[in-house]
């Protein structure tokens, strides 16, 4: 198995594990962390392709993605805090009435 194939396999495995975590886990914070895992997996494939290409633009793009991920988590955490204050629970089933 050559290097590129190993990296892409690892990237796909991390993405799939994160997706499985988002679907099957009940805790909202754990689901959020599994989303971070998905983002990390996709980021790994971006880095491997950019490094294979040898373009500096890839490194800049990865840096910008890191910053956007930090902004995303800065918005997501207050939303989780609001949900917990409203429902007194981190359990997904407590939010079943959030429809429409």
């Amino acid at each position: 198995m050559d290097k590129m194939q190993l990296l892409l396999t690892l990237s796909a495995a991390l993405f799939a594990a994160g997706l499985l975590g988002v679907i099957v886990r009940r805790n909202v914070l754990v689901m959020l962390m599994c989303m971070e895992l998905m983002l990390n997996g996709v980021n790994l494939s971006l880095v491997s392709f950019a490094q294979q290409n040898g373009a500096v633009a890839g490194a800049v793009l990865v840096f910008l993605i890191f910053v956007v991920a930090a902004a995303e988590i800065a918005i997501a955490i207050p939303i989780v805090l609001l949900l917990v204050r409203a429902k007194r629970s981190l359990d997904l089933e407590a939010y079943a009435d959030l429809k429409g």
């Binding site: 290097k3 009940r26 910008l64």
Partner: protein, 168 residues
Amino acid sequence: MIESALLYLFAASALAGAVLMLVVRHPMRVALALIATMLSLAGVYAVLGVHVIAVFQVLIYVGAVMVFMVYVIMLLEMRDRSLARRYSALLVPGIAGFALLVGTLGLGLWRDAADAPGAGDSAAYGVQSFSIAFLNDYWLHFELVSVLLVAAVVAAIAVLKVESASRG
């Protein structure tokens, strides 16, 4: 030789952290497993020769995002039902979809293995060339991203303000 051994080691440890995230019960342990995965990915980047990205992975992800996450887990420390029951009712369809996704991606990877070129050199990824390209060609993106960060902070404050105003 030692490079490829290190690559396999870091890849295996990243994968082990990801699997651990799915099975452990407490959110704090999930956070620690995710930190282990991110550190292993930083190791993978370092082995690939993209040191700038490895440093950013540790500084931004582990240093900022995961510290924030661990802090919130400690803030919300509560005994609720999600600790007693780990998995939702979607466990079986979730695993079926997971197997389907892994099968499809794996098949694609194996089929394209023949004409996949090897990884190239990483001479373009030193701190110097990165900094020059970043601040000469991409200064507008840098400024836009700082505006985005300010907007995110203001939005976070606004969300919590709405909540405290509605509670009286």
